[in-house]
């Protein structure tokens, strides 16, 4: 892929993820946070920064941040401080964003990601809470800009990685894993299209053995595809510059999703002086051990643990387990189906047939037309031999289209397999008795005729006979 261009170069990638806290109300006010509401319909006096208004911490958002920190194997800071980040913009009502600067709520942690070369540990530098700004609407009027403050004050977690990633694939894998963990925890819905999770990516290149290169930050990437493409483009751009004898400027860049290019937004020299200082309207946030302990006890099983359990409990391959635990909804679906069923069969049907249907229809598992219960029913009918694998595929498709259950379709179509040995035995007897010549030839060594007998028996059963039983019986009869 990128390998050719980048060969001989090291990539150093660090990522800041902005994850919207899954919370009904904002970080410092009680306004709702529903996506897609009428502009300025979710704005309190505090969100609009009316004179004399004061922020009050939403305790639930603190819980969510701490849970996220625990999920990232990170240190929870018992004392953290909210600071003001001062700058003027029309969609920033206070004239400052309340954020955390020197003392974030969560300190160092790490996560494990899968790479070509196996597991890799990626360090997390910190996680802090901050307010989102409003939204400027430039396309409503030729001369005016409108401001929608619905987002103003919504809680965001900024998760800063260490510069531990060295390829676009690792970067994507990292974001994927963080997103997955947050979704398991229920602390962020991870909806990248709606902007609930977006990433700023820092990229630099250097020759092995040389010191680190100058980094550029690419802002606001909201899909895995864009993260990958932006890093590839940016790495190539930097390498080209250096190879031409020029130098990379430290700057903030924007990714153009249409052209796949990045362009300069502002250089280091133009960077704001945010004049951070502790917000005097908020006391330092202190957490006590018991409270943190209490939250720890509510942490659900996370992907790494579930993966291990699936491998042990259901003998899944590491590969299959990875696919299944990558998403909370998938692993829940899988667990629902696999209960008291054959794990191997269930895995095949979930990661194979079901995924291919979802892919075709461009659906996520939450919107799957086949419920876990329905898929279970289908698997049961394969397992008890009522239908063959091939028939089951047909049934599944029909289930998707009609919404009917597996059994109903099997009955309607008369698909159910004949597994009754007595019934099959009479079929087999019938075939053997009608072809005495061939039976003689077979017994004299013409082995190939075995397939003929099986074919005849299946024909006679209109394809419903369980082929294994047919095979076994014919073998038995002919050897008598």
């Amino acid at each position: 892929m990128v390998a050719k261009m980048i060969e001989g170069w090291n990539l150093v990638i660090g990522i800041e993820i902005h994850a919207q806290v899954n919370s009904k109300s904002k970080l410092f006010s009680s306004s709702p946070t529903d996506f897609g509401s009428k502009p300025n319909s979710q704005v309190s006096l505090i969100d609009a920064a009316m004179p004399g208004m004061l922020p009050v911490i939403n305790k639930f958002c603190i819980e969510q941040a701490v849970k996220s920190g625990i999920g990232l194997n990170a240190k929870i800071n018992k004392k953290s401080i909210f600071d003001r980040k001062n700058y003027f913009y029309q969609d920033l009502p206070q004239g400052y964003q309340i954020s955390q600067y020197k003392d974030p709520i969560v300190g160092e942690g790490f996560i494990e990601i899968e790479t070509e070369n196996g597991q890799k540990k990626i360090g997390v530098e910190r996680l802090h809470l901050e307010q989102d700004a409003g939204k400027s609407l430039h396309d409503q009027d030729p001369n005016l800009t409108f401001v929608d403050l619905n987002r103003s004050g919504i809680a965001l977690m900024e998760i800063v990685s260490k510069p531990d990633m060295s390829s676009p694939e690792e970067a994507v894998e990292y974001v994927r894993k963080v997103r997955s963990i947050l979704r398991y925890l229920g602390t962020c819905d991870g909806n990248m299209e709606q902007g609930s999770l977006r990433a700023d990516v820092n990229v630099s290149v250097n020759k092995p053995g040389n010191e680190l290169g100058t980094r550029c930050e690419i802002k606001n990437l909201n899909s895995f595809k864009f993260i990958h493409a932006a890093i590839v483009y940016e790495a190539k751009r930097q390498i080209k510059l250096i190879e031409q004898g020029e130098s990379v400027n430290q700057e903030t860049r924007l990714f153009n999703t249409q052209s796949g290019e990045t362009r300069s937004m502002r250089s280091k020299e133009d960077a704001h002086d945010y004049r951070y200082f502790p917000d005097p309207d908020l006391l330092p946030l202190t957490l006590d051990d018991d409270w943190i302990k209490g939250l720890q006890d509510t942490i659900p099983e996370l992907p790494d643990q579930i993966k291990e359990r699936f491998i042990n409990e259901y003998s899944l391959s590491s590969y299959d387990a990875n696919i299944i635990v990558s998403d909370k909804a998938i692993s829940e679906y899988f667990e629902d189906v696999v209960k008291n069923r054959n794990p191997k069969l269930v895995t095949t049907w979930v990661t194979g047939e079901l995924f291919s249907i979802l892919n075709k229809k461009n659906l996520i598992i939450e919107d799957s037309p086949i419920t876990a219960k329905q898929l279970g029913e289908l698997v049961d009918n394969i397992e008890n031999g009522k239908i063959s694998n091939r028939q089951a595929k047909e049934v599944l498709e029909e289930m998707c289209e009609s919404g009917k259950g597996a059994l109903e379709i099997i009955d309607e179509k008369g698909l159910s397999q004949i597994s009754d040995e007595n019934e099959i035995e009479s079929l087999v007897d019938n075939v053997l008795n009608s072809n005495p010549e061939n039976v003689k030839k077979y017994k004299n060594g013409k082995d190939k005729l075995f397939g003929f007998f099986v074919g005849e028996a299946m024909k006679l059963s209109k394809g419903k006979a369980n082929p294994k039983i047919v095979n076994d019986l014919i073998k038995k009869k002919l050897s008598q």
Binding site: L45, A48, A49, M50, P51, G52, M53, L54, P55, V56, I57, R84, N86, F88, Y89, Q90, P93, Q94, G95, Y96, T145, V147, D273, R275, Y276, F277, D279, P280, D281, L282, L283
Partner: protein
Amino acid sequence: MKDSYTLKSLAVLLENNKISSKELTSEYLKNIENGKELNCYNTISQEKALIDAEKSDKRRKSQNLRSKYDGIPIGIKDLFCTKGVTTTASSKILSNFVPNYESTVTQNCDDAGLISLGKLNCDEFAMGSTNKTSFFGSVKNPWKSVNSDIELVPGGSSGGSAAAVSADLCVASLGTDTGGSIRQPASFTGTVGLKPSYGRVSRWGIVAFASSLDQAGPITKTVEDAAILLDIISGHDEKDSTSSVNPKENYYENLNSDIKGMKIGIPKEFRSDKLPASTQKSWDECANLLKTNGAEIVEISLPHTMSALPTYYIIAPAEASSNLARYDGVRYGLRVKGNDLIDMYEKTRSEGFGDEVKRRILIGTYVLSSGYYDAYYIKAQKIRSLIKSDYVEAFKKVDAILTPSTPSTAFEIANEPSDPVQNYLNDIFTVPVNLAGLPGISIPYANDENNLPIGLQLITNSFEEQKLLNVAKNIEETINYSETPEKWWLK
């Protein structure tokens, strides 16, 4: 109008049906009208006050009173947001601003049945100690030097609040105090001004100046009234994260002027050759008086006192520069059109803010800038901690501290010092109290040789408002200060 009107006496008159709330309110509205020259009120709520007074009279008739003080009209500094009533902070930038919400403090007053006569003039965004920075012009001090026609400043920033009480344009008022803004004007006008402990009174709905220092409090005629009004306005407010959960006491009911066995500290760092002889004399006399009344006078040291003013003038502007960023012309208040966003910001804020506010925004922006932050803001915070610990140490030895409230009595309006630092020195005795988050009260002690009031300040430990009021009451009872300004504006 009787000069003896107080919250306490009016409650009795109302209770005995000697006067109705409507009559009382009308009387004050008339006083306000006659006292227009003093420029105390930015907004007079004539209609609303009378309607509210009638409602109060009905409540009284149906014995459905909100409190003993139901129906008493007061004045409110124009820094408290009041629902449906213009709230300007005495700034052009908010001159058209009508909140649709009520500050916790004024809501508490309403809940007690108090009636608002209107909004009192103050320094712009409470930045000043003369009331001259108001967009609506200076307030005039009701007091004048003997045989002099020269107009004097009422002090600031709560100059309107103090002057109005002194001139009987209301019986009591609400002020705010960030570095002395209640105590200094109280001292200049012969009234009682109380700044509560930081966190005792909610800041919700008060236009913010410096969040870590701002505190609302009463300006009244007597110590008893200060206790009454503090009872009404104080208490925990979950809408203000810095509001204290310490249970409040019943300050008025528990008022007890017995100070026997108490230790009163006299800080040596507050002594100065520059202090007017009459102020020094009052201070000494008062110490003797307390001794006579059974207290022990102890000399104490507050070693970082001299660093308080520079510390204050870093921290307060730093916070102000950020607090005032919201006045940007985008959502409310003044907007001056510009070619683009930045141009609109610049024009709006250039026209909307006065010089003193701009000066403090610039200072604040400067001290928070990268490269200067450590040298100014962080250093100031460190000194602030040292000042706090000075007081912690002192209160291990004494119950209360006695100082002058101000380094001078009221001065001429026309006599503007060209150096702003000269103005800042007005707050030299009051500022450390805000930095340390302590309660302080200024009470009138005597008049100087020009017949201008001299105020003395008492300070106690955090949340010891009761003790503060008790000592103040002791002094008040003993001296029985009863000077009132001659009402020259009525002539």
